[in-house]
């Protein structure tokens, strides 16, 4: 009887411990949501946007992100989309690399030399992404869906989501396929369903609290494939852009809220 009571008390205290942890995490999230370091990075990104760089010593201020040369308002919310000058669908990061090459005269190798930054030092593309995404706050996500290549990109993204591959046989849907699932304590959004895709896609790129890093969607695709035990996807490739296209199209209509915080 005594043992039973002890067991019950232990079970209760374990449950209470779990709740406390969840409550603490919630409190911390709220705290950082009120003043995100992402705002500081937006300022740094703005400087980079306006800074003359490359052999041509010009800034990116004439870069056309789809809304016209130099127009930042709503640009992020309408990506990925088809660009006639490149004859392909691009997301923000692929487009920025395109502008670095075509306008600043930099080599592609130079433009993508440092893709993913560290805790103390975000990369150029990460800072630019945070700044540009911030100019879409309140704008509904509406990636391009009219050009045949935009439709094809969306279809490819959807096929990739369910495509089982790699040393561990995973698809995106292996983890993001059923409702109410977790990896360890991390809840997994079912990203092919609009109600789950909307809040998630409306907050990328983001500041990641656990690693003090700025993270972008290209990083997210890269690190998911790393954990799926596949080889590495090329940065800004049709594959990664198609997945981002599929996710943003699924989140269609969600007002952009970012750049946000992630755990």
């Amino acid at each position: 009887m005594k043992a039973l009571a002890f067991g019950a008390a232990l079970a209760l205290s374990c449950a209470a411990y779990g709740q406390d942890v969840a409550k603490e995490i919630q409190r911390y999230r709220q705290m950082v949501a009120e003043g995100s370091p992402a705002e500081l990075f937006e300022l740094e990104g703005e400087e980079l946007w306006k800074k003359p760089q490359g052999p041509k010593s010009v800034s990116l201020q004439r870069c056309d992100l789809g809304e016209g040369p130099g127009v930042l308002k709503a640009a992020y919310a309408h990506l990925p989309r088809y660009f006639k000058d490149a004859d392909r669908v691009m997301d923000l990061e692929a487009r920025l690399v395109h502008c670095m090459v075509t306008q600043q005269g930099r080599s592609r190798e130079d433009a993508i030399a440092r893709l993913f930054g560290t805790a103390d030092r975000p990369s150029e593309l990460e800072l630019l992404s945070i700044y540009i995404a911030g100019q879409s706050r309140g704008v509904r996500l509406e990636p391009g869906m009219s050009h045949p290549k935009e439709k094809a990109s969306y279809e490819l993204g959807r096929a990739l989501y369910f495509h089982r591959v790699g040393a561990w046989d995973f698809a995106c849907a292996s983890c993001h396929g059923d409702e109410g699932k977790r990896i360890r304590m991390q809840e997994l959004p079912v990203l092919y369903k609009p109600q789950y895709a909307r809040p998630v896609m409306a907050s990328w790129p983001a500041y990641r609290i656990s690693t003090s890093q700025v993270i972008t969607l290209q990083w997210r695709m890269n690190d998911c494939y790393r954990q799926m035990r596949t080889p590495e996807p090329d940065f800004g490739s049709e594959t990664t852009v198609a997945l981002i296209h599929f996710l943003n199209a699924t989140a269609h209509g969600a007002p952009y809220q970012g750049p946000g915080n992630k755990r």
């Binding site: 374990c14 411990y17 779990g18 942890v21 045949p148 439709k151 094809a152 279809e155 490819l156 959807r158 096929a159 990739l160 369910f162 495509h163 089982r164 591959v165 790699g166 040393a167 561990w168 046989d169 995973f170 698809a171 292996s174 983890c175 396929g177 059923d178 109410g180 699932k181 977790r182 990896i183 360890r184 304590m185 991390q186 997994l188 494939y225 790393r226 954990q227 035990r229 596949t230 080889p231 590495e232 996807p233 090329d234 490739s237 049709e238 594959t239 990664t240």
Partner: protein, 196 residues
């Protein structure tokens, strides 16, 4: 006129249709590059991955049966007892290392078990993609049949459920026979915290 409409419908179809798994594979072969131990052969689907992709993980019963029989043949059972040391098994269950492009080849891999399963009640941070395995050995004992089943399931989960989301941890070369034996002990040994 009707024939023309039909013809244009047929011609338009391939452009609008979803890309097939073979199309997707071709695009991945173009868009991915090898890094570290993650070589390009990994984007080539085997028959099982292909069927599971085509059927969204719900193959017809007869196809599933044939695939499972095929996968069963890959399992290599060591001689003697299949129960190792549950303490080492707990460490293997905790570790999520292995086979990624930034894991050093030759370093011991883990089973990533807690990522998806509840096992020891002491570990609160467990995933829920797979079923809870807490108390797994309590009702099943430690007999040779159950040892063989657990060893086989970890070695190649697809031999028991063709489109399971669980990796083929032995068949993929992630875990060694000794490591799988330690995991069998974690699940079955009466002294293991899983069976508290």
């Amino acid at each position: 006129m009707r024939r023309l409409a039909l013809l244009s419908a047929v011609l338009a179809f391939p452009a609008m249709a979803d890309p097939t798994p073979a199309d997707v594979q071709g695009i991945m072969q173009r868009d991915f590059h090898p890094r570290g131990q993650a070589t390009m052969d990994r984007v080539v689907q085997d028959g099982l991955q292909r069927v599971c992709t085509e059927t969204r993980d719900r193959p017809p019963a007869d196809v599933a049966k044939a695939l499972e029989a095929d996968q069963l043949k890959t399992i290599v059972y060591p001689e003697g007892s299949l129960m190792g040391d549950w303490k080492r098994g707990e460490a293997i269950a905790q570790s999520g290392r292995g086979l990624t492009w930034n894991d050093k080849p030759g370093d011991p891999a883990g089973g990533s078990c807690y990522n998806c399963h509840e096992l020891s009640p002491k570990e609160l941070s467990h995933g829920t993609i797979g079923p809870s395995l807490r108390g797994f050995g309590k009702t099943r004992g430690t007999g040779p049949e159950v040892q063989r089943y657990v060893y086989g399931k970890i070695y190649n989960a697809k031999a028991y459920n063709a489109c399971s989301q669980m990796p083929r941890l032995g068949a993929s070369g992630t875990l060694t026979a000794a490591q799988i034996k330690d995991l069998v002990a974690l699940l079955l040994d009466p002294a293991s915290p899983v069976n508290e």
